[in-house]
């Protein structure tokens, strides 16, 4: 396993609970959208999905601030130029074109691989981003512009339904607002969401494919 050494190239707050960290791309480093890096900090290691496009000059990862989490706290405080070690790219959660329309379903920071896919030119799919509060709808600009349809599923605020906005969980949207038919589902996020959407696919979207990346 090759360990790369890079430096922090910048940081951008996305919401009170998440930020994007940019790393200088090591010479010759390539990856495919949907893959992740394994960062090594002190004695700890953490996996972070790349959100940058494969051709972007820097590597970008999406980091969730974990209360009391030593790694995310260190990364949140990392100044530009600070060295970081990582391995990768890892993972097989990759987009494959097919005759079926893709449906990208994420909760929280599970949106990261889909940002990389849209930034790499994937078009024509529906993106569902499930969050509790609308302040966590990071990358809406990228996804809204690039995806065939973007729906923010906000479960914790109530409110009215509107274009691109569903007041509830992603499973509620798929159950009540999404027409049946075979799709290619790409699921990334919390275990409960992956479980519930997979069951929905079995019940309502026969003939669909399901690709998953679970954040436990």
């Amino acid at each position: 396993m090759t360990i790369h050494t890079s430096v922090v190239a910048g940081r951008r707050d996305l919401s009170p609970s998440a930020f994007e960290l940019r790393l200088a791309r090591p010479a010759g480093f390539t990856f495919r959208p949907g893959q992740h890096l394994r960062l090594f900090l002190e004695e700890r290691e953490r996996d972070y999905t790349l959100t940058s496009g494969p051709e972007d000059p820097d590597l970008a990862i999406l980091v969730r601030r974990v209360a009391g989490g030593r790694v995310s706290s260190r990364l949140a405080a990392a100044e530009t130029g600070v060295p970081l070690r990582f391995s990768g790219p890892h993972g097989r959660f990759l987009f494959s074109p097919s005759p079926r329309k893709p449906v990208f379903v994420a909760t929280g920071t599970g949106i990261a691989p889909f940002v990389a896919m849209v930034r790499s030119g994937v078009r024509g799919g529906t993106v569902l981003h499930g969050v509790r509060h609308s302040e966590d709808l990071y990358y809406q600009d990228v996804l809204g512009a690039g995806a065939g349809g973007f729906v923010a599923c906000v479960s914790g605020e109530g409110g009215l339904e509107g274009p691109g906005l569903f007041p509830g969980r992603v499973t509620g949207f798929l159950k009540n607002r999404f027409s049946g038919g075979p799709y290619d589902f790409y699921l990334c996020g919390r275990q409960e969401m992956v479980r519930d959407v997979t069951r929905l696919v079995d019940e309502r979207f026969s003939g669909s494919l399901v690709f998953t990346e679970v954040f436990f």
Binding site: S96, Q191, T198, D202, V210, F216
Partner: protein
């Protein structure tokens, strides 16, 4: 990390290529049996660790091959996921044949059926051999049920691998008994 996702609670499971299939599907049966074989080999490896002329290293190599082989059965041929799968070491079957010849050269000729057993390590090797044969049968059943050009080439090589592996495990069982100072026990058709 939790091991359970609960996506399979209703009798269905997902393939690497994305399809949702019944857990009774022939291919699930095939890769499940490869997994079972790998687990039996894990017991065998634990049994011979630090002894038996480095047999554990050979078993670890086979276990690694079986992960690749199981992935083939868990992925639909012709899909991008199938094309992405790592192949087997092209020398894997030749290596087993060389090892079979080496071990056999040190064994007395076989003049009849032998009872599976002897030293516990040899007994596990015999059990692994029979699970390997079942994996082979289920692989053949899958191949015959869903033939395709892509499947034929790759999965046929998996069948060759499993066929040779069960031969290897038979000879390995005898080899382990020899190293343990145990004689093979011949089956006596007339015994009660």
């Amino acid at each position: 990390m939790k091991i359970y996702t609960k996506t399979g609670d209703r009798g269905r499971t997902g393939l690497f290529s994305g399809e949702r299939v019944s857990k009774a599907d022939t291919r699930v049966s095939a890769y499940g049996t490869v997994d079972e074989l790998n687990s039996v080999l894990g017991v065998l490896a634990a049994c011979v660790a630090g002894d038996f002329g480095g047999a554990a290293g050979a078993i670890r190599r086979i276990q690694s091959d079986l992960f690749r082989l199981g992935a083939w059965f868990a992925t639909s041929p012709g899909t991008p996921a199938f094309e992405d799968l790592p192949g087997l070491d092209p020398e894997a079957v030749t290596w087993m044949e060389t090892e079979i010849d080496r071990m056999e050269s040190e064994l007395p000729p076989l003049r009849g059926f032998i009872l599976p057993g002897g030293h516990p390590a040899a007994a596990w090797a015999h059990l692994a051999r029979t699970v390997c044969r079942r994996a082979e049968r289920r692989g053949v059943a899958f191949l015959e049920a869903a033939p395709s050009a892509e499947a034929d080439e790759t999965l046929a090589s998996a069948i060759v691998y499993l066929n040779r592996l069960s031969d290897y495990l038979f000879v390995l069982a005898r080899h382990l008994n020899r190293l343990a100072g145990r004689k093979d026990e011949r089956w006596d058709p007339g015994a009660p």
